[in-house]
Amino acid sequence: MHSEIIKPKKKVRGGVAVSHEKHTKDMPVKRIPAPETVTLPMRQHIGAPCVPTVKVGDTVKVGQVVGDSDQYVSAPIHASVSGKVTAVKEVKLASGLVSQAVTIENDGEYTQFEYEVPKADTKEEFVKAVRASGLVGLGGAGFPTHVKLNIPKEKSVDTLIINAAECEPYITVDYRECIDNSWDVFNGVHLLKDMLGVRRVVIAVEDNKPDAIKILERIAEKEDTDDKIKVMPLKSKYPQGAEKMMVLSATGRKVPPGALPADVGCVVMNVASAAFISRYLKTGKPLVSRSLTVDGSAVVQPQNLRVPIGTEIDYIFKACGGFKAEPEKIVSGGPMMGMAIVDTHHPILKSNNALLAFTADDQSLKKETDCIHCGRCAKACPLFLMPTLIHRHAVARDVKKLERAGATVCMECGSCAYSCPAGKPLVQYMRHAKAVLREESQKK
């Protein structure tokens, strides 16, 4: 019998060995009762924000569109509970951005919208259906999935990469998707394979999840008559799961700066997104809830939860037994790339895959001291950048040197700042460098 396991074509350089902290890995995703109100911001994805399509006083059903946009790079937003629209107003998001939002008072009925099973026989219909589902990348970035799937004619894609690496510490929802919804993952993989017409499907997973590898191996051999689907275990090292790293491991190709994986013939899709597509095409029920990991030293009961989108963060922490000790820092997303939030009265968005609350002694804040030129940041960078050099050019506002040093190539994975013995906020420095480039280009 042929093997379903393949080795990575190329090894990812650099990276850091971050403690995995996957405490919730054996906890199946639990549903919690929906909150009394949900707030659905119109800005939940990369691209154009949606415009509310309902007004105060309207009654909505679960899955009904409450916001949409006529822009291409955008995805509609659906009601996650049934009930009455009580407000359509601007709210502040956890990121600090301000967005229009629709607030719905939950009537507790969960009246479902009359879903229609979408037609997806042709590629055009498939892409249209994915857009209608409201799906955005569930791995954290929140890029509208239909844009990714609608590959322009001049580009040809031969490889589909299913990302189950989950290299961020703490987060285990993708792992749970593989274990608990393996049937959906299987269907999703086949659907995408057929729709994209790819030569090869690579399911990438870190080798700290042997159970997931076993299940994915079975998925890869089932009904795979032309032996296109392969599982690629990766060494557990952060940031294996980054898009560019996925493409490199699976195909040996390097995505050029500013380009997309499609430019080198790849589509990378999060495993939960793939599973969702297969569910959606069966039922027509759009994206109204998502799974997320709640963990961190301050949380009483760390667990994986499925929550309606728009649920307040505070409500979710309450459902996890509250805090053991007062948290010092709360992070939306993983500890490496997630965002520290100011308070917990913000809604959960489609792209939130984790909520972490850390106590004062577990927040890894370090006193910043002078750079000793040890080079650990450059060694850790999977993209061959030299963060301290870029920082120096940014302070000098030297556009030419910044461009040559690749300031815009940085994906802000945080490997440099993680490994810095001097405690330099290097990711912040990289963001500053990018801001300098933006400002200088606007001046011209």
């Binding site: 971050v18 403690s19 560019k244 390097k254 995505v255 050029p256 700066p257 380009a259 430019d263 009483v300 505070d314 922490f317 309450k318 509250g322 805090f323 007062e326 948290p327 010092e328 820092k329 992070v331 500890p335 490496m336 790339m337 997630g338 520290a340 100011v342 308070d343 917990t344 972490l356 850390f358 927040q363 890894s364 804040l365 370090k366 001291t369 002078d370 750079c371 000793i372 030129h373 080079g375 450059a378 999977p382 061959f384 030299m386 050099l389 040093a405 690749g406 190539v409 802000e412 945080g414 700042a417 993680y418 490994s419 810095c420 013995p421 001097a422 906020p425 990711v427 912040q428 963001r431």
Partner: protein, 341 residues
Amino acid sequence: MSDTTIQKMLTVSASPHKRTGDTTRGIMLDVIIAMLPALVLSVILFGPRTLVVTLVSVVFCVLFEFLSRKAMKRENTIGDLSAVVTGMLLAFNLPSTMPIWMVIIGDAVAIIVVKQFFGGIGQNFVNPALVGRIVLMASFPVAISDYPAPFEWKIGAVDAVTTATPLAQFTGIYGAENIKTAINATDLPTLANMFFGVRGGCLGETCAAALLLGFLYLLIRRVISPTIPLVYIGTVAVIMLIAGKGNLMFVGYQLLAGGLLLGAIFMATDYTTSPVSFKGKIIYAVGCGVITSLIRIFGSLPEGVSFSIILMNILVPHIEHLTTPKPFGTVKQKKQKGEAK
């Protein structure tokens, strides 16, 4: 319902929210630990005065660091232990008989002039301890090359085994015959004695075994990468093999003698004054090896390690400029544009 009230303001900072436990202080502490075996051996070989010289050097380096930071109204940085490392390294590069006041002058040059005048840790463009040594060498050439014989402190100068240092013997000799004569000279320590440090020399440089132990520790703790020491020593070995017309004894003496191991392991690997990239490290280490060998073979000085490292330190910014790796995917982009056309 459970309690989720938060009274304090939450800390907000840029990602990542997890960081390594490594600190500058921890790294320096590792370097200090790695130097301890050589120090212990040195005390056994050259007596308690070794300890006095080392302690004075450390104390004054820390003091000068403290005072100059204070005078410049900058944050006190003695806690990072880098001054301790400099103090130890400088002492390691001096004979145990060095007059104390000269040691203090070396410390002042290293810390005040070379390190703090240029902005403190991470900013000096040459290795402070090495410049300290070179200034002392230029000012007090007799005192700095007055190597006591091993165990002289115990048994007295008359009974001591030997004071001949191989490098002094080898200076200015070419031809295979001459090398053989030099090696066969009766007062030359055996290679085994050289390995365990039973020879005259600066207090920290003689015991190869202890220095290699320190090297191993630094590698295990991932404080340094093996690239620079291996390439540096390798370059010297290759050149000496050619210069010695294939005489392996000669190569052995060259590698174990002088400050090569001390320099290659502890000085050339100084973060601040060595390149970051792998390619840069190779160029830098080969350069150190070539200059060391040239000074040893053709120079009037018996020893070239300090000068070679200092010279290559000065070239580091240029090496870095030449060897900065291209950002991920940039080479490919050009190719692809070509293909598209």
